[in-house]
Symmetry: C2
Subunit: 241 residues, 2 copies
């Protein structure tokens, strides 16, 4: 403190102001529903400033995604690296991998406060938008991460067919994205007895983790045509009831 001016709403960089406003509007309205006019208006800057700093609406959307996604996925890689280093050559436990991927996501969102949660919901929405350029963005940013985590999961569950693991990872992604993105939707549908969203986000982590691990460890479905399995297929297949 002293001579340095605090980054208040009025002194923050125009670029960041636009990014923050865009994050909000894109989350609330979706990519197509958001307009540059509303974004720049919310940010308190001129309409042309958006194009001056980011070029186009598409590039602004990319910038919004990249800003936090890059940090998140770097952290995801770092945590996985650290776990694997500690484990030496032995495979990780599935719970460790799940926590490294989904736990990191939620912990970072919590750490970033309301903005983190906004971004969380934006991601949840974005993953269901099949627009061409959005898929390209997601593909480029997620592909290396998912490859690493897939590999770790294959090593952790050698007796489970890879196809099943991939599907279950997909299910876990869905449960997580949706749990965050759709909170208000379903809150409106049914008057369930959940508290405030802010409180919930911290309680959500253990809840979600339990669910994800339960699903991941569930007995494999009785496949009508079983993919030829080399060996050792009969383990960890019992459920409790």
């Amino acid at each position: 403190m002293g001579a340095i001016i605090e980054p208040t709403e009025d002194t923050r960089d125009t670029r960041e102001r636009i990014l923050d406003a865009a994050e909000n509007v894109f989350m609330a309205c979706g990519y197509d529903g958001a307009s540059m006019r509303q974004i720049t208006s919310d940010a308190g800057v001129n309409l042309a400033a958006g194009h001056y700093h980011f070029g186009s609406k598409e590039d602004l959307f990319k910038a919004v995604l990249y800003r936090r996604l890059r940090i998140l996925n770097q952290e995801r890689l770092r945590v996985l690296d650290e776990l694997e280093a500690k484990a030496g050559g032995t495979p990780l436990k599935p719970s460790q991998i799940v926590d490294a991927f989904f736990g990191t996501l939620l912990r970072m969102a919590i750490a970033h406060g309301p903005r983190g949660q906004t971004f969380l919901r934006l991601i949840g929405r974005t993953l269901t938008e099949p627009s061409e350029f959005i898929r390209t963005v997601l593909s480029k940013e997620f592909a290396p991460i998912l490859e690493r985590y897939k590999a770790a999961m294959f090593r952790a569950l050698p007796e489970v067919p890879k196809e099943e693991i991939v599907w279950r990872f997909h299910f876990m992604l869905g449960a997580t994205s949706y749990a965050i993105a759709g909170v208000d939707t379903l809150r409106l549908v049914t008057d369930w007895e959940t508290g405030e969203v802010e409180d919930d986000l911290e309680r959500l982590l253990p809840r979600l983790m339990s669910f994800l691990l339960g699903g991941l460890r569930a007995p494999l479905p009785a496949t009508p045509i079983q993919v030829p399995q080399p060996r050792g297929n009969g383990r960890n297949r019992r459920k409790k009831s």
Copy 2:
């Protein structure tokens, strides 16, 4: 057959042609991304026909949702009624309830062919669109169904806190919606070894059901601050590892 003309693309009702085209476009582009011009053009009808038959874009979207959602949810109620009638007064098994809700969804989608799958993905997308009028539509259509299923679930799992059940139902909804809506998104991200979508939809059901039930039955998370429970609070609270 004979004098009756088959409902081909050219003889079907204008209304239905518009509904089908709208279903496709809304699924592919989202509500905001879709335009009346593209919908009516795909349907091979005049632009004004859309407004003549449905009034507005909003009402067209509602009509698209209602057309199948009504049937789906009626069937969901019917199945649940039938199960509870068979069970007499005893609570249902959780697996029965999950299958009645999510299994009915997937089976109906399979039964309706490609159109069923399109609708499935449309629903998956729609549930993450927090637009005001969409939430109203979903609320009105889903509220009674969810109340019935929630009640059945509470009866089936009397020892589990209701809050946890609701959350896990939420997670299950997410895993399901996303598993369908996001298939292509993630197929692009990672080159996982899944076959064709059409084949997958039938294999998806047992896979998804295993995952959902595994998550539903997972040990409850170790809650740091337990909500005051009237009685019988000490059971099934252990995590397994």
